[in-house]
Amino acid sequence: MRTVAIIAAKELRDGVRNRWIVAAILLLAGLALAIAFLGSGPVGTINASRLSTTVAGLTTLSVYLVPLIALMLSYDAIIGEIERGTLLLLLSYPVRRWQVLAGKFFGHLAILILAIGIGYGLMGVAIWAMEGVKPDEVPALLNLIGSSVLLGAVFLALGYLLSTVSRERATAAGLAVALWLVLAVIYDLALLGLIVADGGRLIGEELFSALLMVNPTSAFRIHNLMQYESVSAAAGLIGPDGAANYAMASTLGSMTLWLFSAGLAAQGLFRRVDP
């Protein structure tokens, strides 16, 4: 555990040193505040509070940004160190390989928690200070922060996996972009297109929910939009009736499953890496 903590602390310090955390906080806080205060046009007369609409907007933002930030942190975690020659030295120390991966994971996770927590937290504080927040809206925001961190963790693990299978840093970067495009952008659109084309003949409601659950970013979106009445109303969704199909357990379960499978696969492959 000591070794994992030492490596995690180093990764976190790297993140602070090279302004990674500051950049991520500014990006997330800036966009969150923009959604909160500039994006109020669409709210119009709908009976939805500012925090709820913002959480709905931030969910969509998180779907794109959190995986991107996580992949940028993780894609060169292994191959980058191999190319710089630092992994060879690190592994010559009394350090087990799983400890290297776990240390990097917890260090990067701490960076994500700080960036998302502070970025979105600042936005919550700003809304509370300006127009107040209803008590039942706070869990929605906390839930958004928590599940965004979980989504980030999934993409950290996926990034390590890409980083261990790639022979070059550039390959890992390319794969990371491709993975991001597929999971965060194309998947939902493709599914939507499929449903429209299908016209309800083959893809029933059950298969549709299953297909949504398979993708961690879709699971994340559902998790946040369907959880709370106030948020789903703000997002223009039908409300808790529709949400019944998507139990909290299965959205979180899908993401957790992704996290562990990608993490274990990365660990299994990392054991065979020649530094």
Binding site: I6, L88, L90, P94
Partner: protein, 316 residues
């Protein structure tokens, strides 16, 4: 020359490779190599780029596994669970060492010290010893090549290792730092550390190593002390005779036949002389009608042995 008077028999074998082979795909990088390193000795690994030196280091460190043969370090198989704690007793300086540029020299060293469970206070001592204490709070990004190399050596010396593996350690160091570097190695060696050092600088390493392993294309071409390798190679002594102007030609006629003349010009004769015939050749030289003004005898150097064993023809 440290080859003489070094009693190796009483020392413990720390590294032992037995018929080790390692292949990457179709490419055989290390082939059937057997060698050992004992405590208190400095073993030099010599060979061209890609001869398998770095691969040998990785095998000894347990970072890769041999396809054939066995590797043992302090009695354990590298990469096994038992080896984990033995890593604490090993210092390693990789070729062209790199660090996290955003960290300061002291932070880098403390990071590695913590991984080895060495107290932080040892870091400042090492930084002082390496002449880096004034730059300790600067980022590694601002370090020169020589400073990085010294920081690399400092991390290798953490925890007073019993086995020191150095992959081309003196590249990028100026003469003064080289001297200082070998002085440090010598002290470690005397304290009982086994040192394995790979190098291209043959004339430099000749003054510092006890034994040599010459690798070519992954195979061990020669292994032993300088004296053993000389005997094995049977290389001739080189003798250079200097004469007054125009006298060399006549002397060459007298010497030709019994001696092997390598080159003759106006003032000089270059002879190759088998070690066993040294005295008879010298007698012949002293009996010359026109005596030589000067005689220089040069025994085979490590460089000559290297050329001999790797089969690489020196550019004349």
């Amino acid at each position: 020359m440290t080859e003489v008077g070094c009693n190796l028999d009483g020392h413990q074998i720390l590294v032992e490779l037995e018929k080790v082979s390692k292949r990457y795909g179709e490419h055989l990088v290390v082939s059937d190599v057997s060698l050992a390193a004992r405590s208190g000795e400095c073993l030099a690994l010599l060979g061209h780029n890609g001869a398998g030196k770095t691969t040998l280091f990785k095998l000894i460190l347990g970072l890769i596994r041999a396809n054939k043969g066995s590797v043992r370090v302090s009695g354990a198989e590298p990469g096994s669970a038992a080896f984990h704690d033995i890593r604490r007793t090993i210092g390693f300086l990789p070729e062209s060492v790199a660090f996290q540029d955003a960290m300061t020299g002291r932070e880098v060293l403390e990071f590695y010290a913590r991984l080895k469970q060495v107290p932080d206070k040892e870091c400042d001592q090492l930084l002082k010893r390496m002449g880096l204490i004034d730059a300790a709070s600067q980022r590694v990004a601002t370090y020169s090549k020589g400073m990085r190399q010294r920081l690399g050596l400092a991390q290798a010396l953490l925890g007073e290792p019993r086995l020191l593996l150095l992959d081309e350690p003196t590249t990028g160091l100026d003469p003064e730092l080289r001297w200082h570097f070998f002085d440090t190695i010598e002290r470690m060696r005397k304290a009982g550390t086994a040192v394995i050092i790979s190098s291209h600088a043959l004339s430099e390493i000749q003054a510092h190593a006890d034994r040599y392993a010459i690798l070519t294309k992954g195979q061990l071409a020669a292994l032993g002390t300088l004296g053993e390798m000389k005997k094995q190679a049977g290389l001739p002594l080189r003798i250079r005779l200097t004469f007054g102007a125009g006298k060399a030609k006549g002397a060459a006629r007298a010497l030709d036949g019994p001696c092997n003349l390598a080159k003759v010009n106006d003032k000089h004769i270059y002879l190759n002389c088998p070690v066993a015939e040294k005295m008879s050749v010298l007698r012949m030289i002293s009996d010359l009608k026109d005596p030589a003004q000067d005689v220089e005898i040069e025994p085979p150097r490590l460089e000559d042995l290297y050329v001999h064993f790797t089969g690489w023809e020196r550019l004349q």
